[in-house]
């Protein structure tokens, strides 16, 4: 009888699950389709993570090192799950490198992808160079360490964050009605960082309502305004255009507090992207026949379990952003929780 646990995905949740299983000496195989561990924060070069304001490597490097050091965890990069037959605890899985394994339990941690803002053509991303995503802003910080307008390389005088791009948006149909959970807080942090480094840049945040959860309220909502002078305007941006007369962008919205439409010139606009299940998550859902939310397509846990990490399919556990928008701290916790549940599951069948 197999004793091995398969962890699919080497991002925060998968790393955390593998690390926990490794610590407990459980034979574990971690498959990651990219050639690097760390998931989106490492692959995409995030600059600073909320809420602790640490870099991705500060947070994730200890996990990566411990997983790589562990004698019971086998890491397989550039590898994907191809098929899975049988039932727990006797899954027979096939990997993209041709290897076949006998697996007792599976932890799915296949994560999310950023909303593609080109679906909101009215926001002009990809048409006007000075419309960028919050991911590109992170990369500007982490790769180049400076803020500039992509059209001319100059420091913007005035810039805006547009919240909820691809989130809470019924215009996009049923797939994108959920909140991304991280956007308000990260924008508060990014806006504060900009104001701290470049006090001459005017920064505006355009929001529907600000959702800085729990203890995030002060550092990512009040502090940006009170300490750094970031200006918050309630109004959803309807459209972004460009004026040839001054070479600046125009953002159009209705300020729903003062109740009037406005059109404001901006040098740089940052789109705060929503989260969607990754292609990997959708693919794994098909291979393992996992329950998905009919609208968002995120994976959903077994309702009767009361747990957030137990899937409706016996022996399959789900953790992190494959089951909906989540922050990195919580992803790490869910990885640990899924590892323990997997352990309990195989523990009932085999002697560890």
């Amino acid at each position: 009888m197999a004793k091995t646990v398969l962890v699919i995905g080497g991002g925060p949740a998968g790393l955390s699950a593998a690390k926990t299983l490794g610590k407990l000496g459980i034979p574990t195989v971690l498959v990651e389709k990219e050639n690097t561990l760390g998931g989106r924060p490492i692959l995409e070069g995030y600059h600073t993570l909320i809420p602790r304001k640490m870099t991705p490597s500060q947070v994730l490097a200890p996990y990566i090192e411990e997983v790589q050091r562990s004698s019971s965890v086998k890491v397989k990069l550039n590898t994907q799950l191809v098929s899975c037959e049988g039932t727990a605890p006797d899954f027979k899985v096939k990997l993209s490198d041709g290897e076949e394994l006998e697996i007792a339990a599976i932890i799915v941690a296949t994560g999310f992808q950023h909303f593609d803002p080109r679906r909101k053509g009215e926001l002009g991303y990809g048409i006007f160079p000075d419309v960028i995503t919050n991911l590109e802003l992170e990369q500007m910080f982490s790769k180049e360490g400076r803020l500039y307008r992509p059209s001319n390389g100059q420091l913007p005088e005035r810039m805006a964050f547009v919240f909820c791009v691809g989130s809470r948006d019924r215009q996009l149909g049923v797939t994108n009605v959920h909140c991304c959970r991280y956007g308000c807080a990260l924008s508060g942090l990014q806006a504060s960082e900009i104001r701290e480094k470049y006090p001459q840049v005017e920064v505006f945040c355009y929001y529907m309502d600000v959702r800085t959860y729990g203890t995030w309220e002060y550092p990512f909502y009040w502090e940006p305004q009170e300490k750094y002078g970031v200006r918050y305007v309630r109004g959803r941006i309807a459209e972004i255009t460009y004026s040839h007369s001054d070479g600046k962008l125009r953002i159009k919205h209705e300020d729903t507090i003062v109740k009037r439409p406005a059109e404001i010139p901006m040098d740089l606009v940052v789109l705060v992207l929503g989260m969607e299940p990754s292609e990997g998550t959708k693919k794994i859902a098909r291979i393992l026949d996992l329950a998905q939310d009919p609208d968002s397509q995120f994976l959903i846990p077994a309702q009767e379990s009361g747990s957030n990490v137990i899937s409706p399919k016996a022996g399959v556990f789900i953790a992190g952003a494959c089951k909906g928008p989540i922050d990195i701290e919580s992803s790490l916790s869910e990885g640990e929780a899924a590892a323990v549940e997997a352990l309990a599951f195989i523990g009932a069948k085999v002697t560890v």
Partner: protein, 445 residues
């Protein structure tokens, strides 16, 4: 791509957009539709090889199938009433391309006037009307092509409501049964795709280009200097934006491709302007309830911007309401000292002109109140005055024939023109239209 233009920002090189066959909620809608068919609730009226379909990409990456021939024309109240050159141009192209179609007299209005403006109808009635018309198309074996943007938008939205709501299906079925508009085994007929005429134009843009090269240019027509402002209609794409053609070559696949792509195909200069995304001012009920809003919006936000910012020669539309709004408000603006003259016409009308269609007998520009003459000059249709005279003489001739009661001769006369005729062209040849109006003596009223 905008970022590709930047010498500074060189990050992720995105794959072309739309991303082909990316799973989206729209696929979900179609999956549900076919599931309903499997359960025996509905019959999906399919586009077949007989329709010589062309595939286009939608915003979500879904492949949409556009039939090109064996077409059932679902015409527009506003077009037939106010801009008859609009449907006539569609028919003209169909005749030129040798496509088979049925000019259906048994079609009703979609009743979505102003797109459900302020409770003019309700979901059950709207669904019943849509399904009644689709059933009629199915009976004929010709595939429905929706001319009107309002009908197209309403039908797309109604389809989504119908597929996802059993209550609506249950409410509409007894009505359809009473009307005899279910299949023999009691199923609702839903077309595989809801197709707008602008999608048909889009799917035929290379054929249009060929015709322009062959016949338009031979007449000295050249559109390469014509500055074109595209106005996309809310009802056509903005309200249900996913189910409409997008193309990586048109604004990076982020703005609707129909109308823009055909203009580009024939070589006109498509010019971007800052209020491209704004409504024409027609609104959803504004034209009925807040007409001054419509007027000021159309004049200040669109006509003025298009005239001053980019000095366009023509506004290209793909819907009934937008065309009339841009047209009539120029005349109104003139009366109030806010005159921003620019020609207005639909993509298919402009394309027909470019391909050499008669500006008055086919495109019927005499119905336009916008300043179309400078556009004709710029397109190289320098003899438009003679053409207008020719049309006036033709009208006189028709009138004479009618006075003399020579209807057979009239019919023969119409055959000479690639015009909307009192006949239906079917795969079996010409067939006289069987409608109340078709049997009336022509032009008597």
């Amino acid at each position: 791509m905008g970022h590709a233009k930047s010498p500074y920002l060189k990050y992720a090189d995105p794959i072309p957009f739309p991303v082909i066959n990316r799973h989206s909620h729209y696929d979900h809608l179609f999956e549900e539709m076919y599931e309903l068919e499997e359960k025996g609730e509905i019959l999906v009226y399919r586009i077949t090889e007989e329709n010589k379909p062309v595939e286009v990409l939608t915003r979500t990456g879904r492949i949409k199938t556009i039939p090109t021939t064996k077409i059932w024309h679902h015409k527009s109240c506003g077009q037939c009433g106010n801009i008859p050159g609009y449907p006539a141009s569609v028919f003209w192209f169909m005749n030129k391309f040798g496509y088979d179609y049925m000019n259906e007299p048994h079609q009703t209005s979609c009743t979505a006037w102003n797109y459900h403006g302020s409770g003019t109808s309700n979901p059950v009635a709207l669904a019943a009307v849509w399904l009644r018309n689709m059933h009629q198309a199915w009976k004929t074996g010709y595939y429905p092509l929706i001319h009107c943007g309002t009908s197209f938008g309403s039908y797309k939205e109604t389809r989504e409501q119908l597929i996802f709501n059993r209550e609506l299906r249950e409410a509409v079925k007894p009505i359809l049964k009473k009307l005899g508009r279910l299949t023999e085994d009691g199923r609702i007929v839903i077309p595989q795709e809801i197709v707008h005429y602008s999608e048909w134009v889009h799917a035929n843009r290379y054929k249009i280009k060929e015709l322009y090269e062959k016949e338009g240019k031979a007449k000295g027509i050249d559109v390469s200097n014509v500055r074109v402002a595209i106005h996309g209609a809310c009802h056509v794409w903005k309200m249900m934006a996913d189910d409409y053609p997008y193309d990586p070559e048109v604004y990076g696949g982020q703005r609707p491709a129909a109308s823009t792509a055909v203009m580009k195909a024939i070589g006109a200069q498509v010019v971007d302007y800052s209020t491209w995304y704004d409504c024409c001012g027609f609104g959803f009920r504004h034209i009925l309830t807040e007409r001054e809003f419509t007027r000021s919006f159309a004049i200040q936000r669109k006509l003025k911007v298009i005239a001053e910012e980019i000095k366009a020669d023509v506004i290209i539309t793909h819907d009934t309401g937008c065309t009339t709004t841009f047209e009539k408000n120029q005349w109104i603006g003139k009366a109030h000292g806010m005159y921003h003259p620019v020609a207005v016409m639909s993509d298919v009308m402009f394309s027909a002109l470019a391909c050499g269609a008669h500006p008055f007998k086919v495109v019927q520009l005499y119905w336009n109140c916008s300043n179309y003459e400078p556009l004709l000059e710029k397109m190289g249709i320098k003899n438009w005055k003679e053409l207008k005279k020719e049309w006036e003489e033709t009208v006189k001739h028709i009138s004479e024939l009618e006075k003399q009661g020579k209807y057979e001769e009239l019919m023969e006369f119409f055959k000479k023109y690639d015009l909307y005729e009192p006949y239906s062209k079917t795969s079996d040849g010409f067939r006289r239209k069987r409608s109340a109006t078709a049997d009336m003596p022509l032009f008597r009223s």
